[in-house]
């Protein structure tokens, strides 16, 4: 699981087999490593299932498992209050936490790779800030695209601006022929610009709009609904196969742009594709639940520590880690203070940081 092993795993699919005497033992070692990594992925998935169950079975109304089960299986005959709690509150909130976690984890992982920067994430490069500005335009000024229903105005705006800023990042990268560092700096400029614009809007906002905006920027799963969940699930279903299909190219990119190019990877096209996927996932997530900053940055780091740089494992691990952390955060956001919801964006950091520190400290000096 160290860097050397990561590189061996990484290069295995692209480098022709080595015809040496150690080939058999090398293959054996590789298979063992791959098996270990699959095990890690399986453990993460199991963790998500457990967290999801925990999320589904905890709540301020203290329903018993039997009641939950009956309502789940036979909603039509359940008391209305139970039906609303199970089907309109617990299920969409819990599933949304997992879906958003998957999306942000995957988006962050791809972003860190294509921009070759460990600090890159949808949050640190301005996508979340852009989304917040789009949301603020809808909340404060009632500005939205014509033809968008009122209920969707805020997420639609948030999506539009996040997408636009991602495309802008890409445009700058290509048009300016800018290095990955340049793109990161440009992203940071976007963060400050959009934050300033949001502050400006807050300044002219009514008391109501201001309060709405503040709560929007803190992130909340209570905005989850089935249609939003469906949109995000479809987006994941579309994006994930593309991400995985590009896994080996992304792995190659980790070795450097020139090295990747020498393997026949069209780096620009790879970067554009990744940025499109990132912006779709990040923009939808931010649009539906508000700003949740921690996942996109930290899930990739945790994943890298767990499975190394081979993107066939690293990408799913980052997505699964994101889902696990956000699902646990969802549980914490409703149980830390009974009956009250603490905005999940706040809790995520508190839940994620010990997780993160533990892994960083455990592996310090090794990487």
């Amino acid at each position: 699981m160290n860097a050397i092993a990561g590189l061996q795993g990484a290069t295995a699919p692209v480098v022709p087999p080595l015809h040496t005497t150690s080939q058999a033992s090398l293959q054996q070692a590789y298979r063992r490593l791959a098996g270990l990594r699959l095990l890690v992925l399986a453990a993460l998935a199991t963790g998500i299932v457990a967290a999801l169950l925990l999320d589904f079975t905890t709540g301020p109304s203290g329903l018993s498992l039997a009641q939950l089960g009956e309502t789940l299986l036979d909603a039509a005959h359940a008391p209305p209050a139970l039906r609303v709690i199970v089907w309109d509150i617990r299920m969409p909130y819990a599933l949304m936490a997992v879906a958003v976690g998957l999306a942000l984890g995957l988006a962050g992982a791809e972003m860190q790779t294509v921009l070759a920067n460990p600090l890159a994430s949808p949050f640190t490069l301005g996508l979340s800030s852009a989304a917040a500005f789009g949301a603020a335009l809808a909340i404060v000024l009632d500005w939205s695209l014509p033809g968008i229903p009122a209920a969707w105005a805020v997420p639609a705006n948030a999506f539009l601006f996040a997408m636009a800023s991602a495309l802008l990042l890409d445009l700058v990268a290509r048009w300016g022929g800018m290095s990955a560092t340049g793109v990161v700096l440009f992203g940071i400029a976007l963060v400050f610009s959009f934050n300033a614009l949001v502050s400006l809007l807050q300044f002219v906002a009514t008391a109501e709009a201001l309060q709405g905006l503040v709560f929007w920027t803190m992130g909340s799963l209570s905005r989850a609904t089935w249609p939003k969940l469906a949109v995000l699930a479809v987006a994941l279903a579309v994006v994930v196969p593309f991400s995985l299909a590009n896994a080996w190219r992304l792995t190659a990119l980790r070795l450097g742009e020139d090295r990747a190019a020498s393997f026949g990877v069209d780096v620009r096209r790879l970067r554009l594709g990744a940025l499109l996927r990132i912006s779709l996932l990040a923009a939808l997530s931010v649009a539906f639940v508000g700003s949740i900053g921690f996942i996109g940055l930290v899930a990739p780091h945790i994943a890298r520590r767990l499975v190394g740089d081979d993107h066939r494992f690293y990408l799913p691990a980052a997505a699964l880690t994101g889902a696990l952390v956000l699902s646990l955060a969802s549980v914490a956001s409703k149980t830390l203070i009974g009956g009250v919801v603490i905005p999940v964006g706040i809790v995520t950091s508190l839940v994620g940081i010990p997780f993160f520190l533990a892994i960083v400290l455990r592996t310090r000096g090794r990487a």
Binding site: P60, V154, T206, I337
Partner: protein, 404 residues
């Protein structure tokens, strides 16, 4: 004015402030001040000063002649209007600018009657951060009336010291943090501070009598028999439900009217979000939505100046039709009500308390009519501009109700 040199005597500072005001605020001085600064007759000029104790216990020396008042919250107009007779704006030298945002309908009402309201210098927008110290000092106030924070300068604001250095006494009042306890006291303090003792005393007594009428009837009711109440603040303003108050402001009204606030003991601070599931599990007997007016096409409770009872009811129906609300007993049994949001920062909050008492105990308070109380406030205190419109209401508008 943060750059003012420290000086032992306030006089040179005041003079400097005046000079700056004359240059920086030339436009104002030239246009708005002459029209606004026509105060009602002030007490006979004498050199005596008055010591008053404000709501936070500070002893403040107040000059005997008050012609220019600086308001730390625009919504202190609600209090000023109760005691300033037919010229409620005449002595306002400057104010925080949140009123037109928090209560656009009320502001528009005043503007129609007193167009000069737009020319009152504004010291900030809707938040404490936005307060401009230099602008505040340059309004050359004789006295500054501040609240405990929220939307205007609070106790810790540097502006307090700056004004005091400039020789301007700062008096704190409060209709917001602990409104039930502080409203009569704050009215009396305001009265003494701006020399409207008699009118302020009259309103404070009026308030106390009405409060006592409610209290005396609910105090004997054991907790188990009190209705459990949920108040959703600014309902519909953001997706998701249940922004509410744990203690202070609206929560005090619920308690005073004999209700049990289901968010008390759950929401740790003043405001927070109850989990929607917790609301369904608690299934309160009474649901109250607050709001002031619709913003664009968003879902919001319409209430306040100029709002027709039917409008209030229609907006309340839309709010209680949000997904999941159909399972709440309060909604099914017609015990969902709407309340003007700004009662949380207005000395007329006695109307909210009486309206709640009627909602909580329809029989016990059958003879208490908050509308009659509003009429009395209009007749006795609000001489310039009466309250008119639906400040509270039910799912169905009362038969024959119209904007008064």
């Amino acid at each position: 004015m943060t750059s003012l040199p420290v000086s032992a005597s306030p006089q040179p500072l005041l003079r400097r402030a005046l000079l700056r005001a004359c240059t920086a605020g030339a436009l104002c001085a030239a246009f708005c001040l002459p029209t606004l600064a026509a105060p009602s007759p002030s007490p006979a000029p004498s050199r005596t000063v008055v010591d008053i104790v404000d709501i936070v216990g500070r002893t403040v020396t107040v000059p005997d002649k008050i012609e220019r008042i600086l308001l730390g919250e625009g919504r202190f107009l609600y209090a000023l209007a109760l005691i300033e007779g037919d010229q409620p704006l005449a002595r306002i030298a400057g104010w925080q600018g949140e009123l037109p945002f928090a209560d656009p309908n009320g502001y528009a009402d005043y503007r129609q009657r007193f167009p000069a309201i737009d020319r009152i210098p504004v010291i900030g927008r809707t938040s404490e951060d936005s307060v401009n110290s230099e602008q505040s000092v340059s309004t050359r106030p004789d006295i500054a009336i501040f609240g405990l924070g929220g939307h205007g300068p609070g106790r810790q604001n540097a502006l307090v010291k700056e004004l005091e250095k400039a020789g301007v006494p700062v008096v704190f009042i409060d209709f917001r943090a602990q409104p039930v306890q502080h409203t009569p006291a704050s009215m009396r303090i305001l009265g003494r501070a701006i020399h409207r003792e008699a009118a302020a005393e009259a309103y404070a007594r009026f308030y106390e009598e009405h409060l006592q009428r409610v209290r005396s009837r609910v105090q004997a009711i054991p907790t188990g028999q009190r209705p459990r109440v949920f108040a959703e603040l600014l309902a519909g303003v953001w997706d998701g439900c249940c922004h509410t108050v744990g203690q202070g402001n609206m929560a005090e009204f619920i308690e005073a009217a004999g209700g049990v606030n289901v968010a008390a003991g759950k929401v740790p601070g003043a405001i927070g979000d109850l989990h929607f599931e917790a609301l369904i599990a608690e299934d309160p007997g009474v649901y109250i939505a607050t709001g002031s007016r619709p913003q664009g096409n968003r879902l919001m409770l319409k209430a306040g100046a100029g709002v027709a009872p039917a409008e209030l009811s229609a907006s309340l129906q839309a709010l209680t039709a949000r997904p999941g609300f159909e399972v709440l007993s309060a909604v099914r049994q017609g015990r969902a009500h709407g309340l003007w949001h700004n009662f949380y920062d207005a000395p007329t909050n006695i109307l909210a308390i009486e309206a709640m008492a009627r909602w909580f105990y329809p029989d016990r308070f059958a003879d208490v009519d908050p509308q009659a109380t509003q009429d009395e406030i209009n007749r006795r205190f609000l001489k310039a501009l009466p309250l008119h419109g639906a400040y509270w209401g039910d799912l169905q508008p009362a038969a024959g109700a119209a904007v008064r």
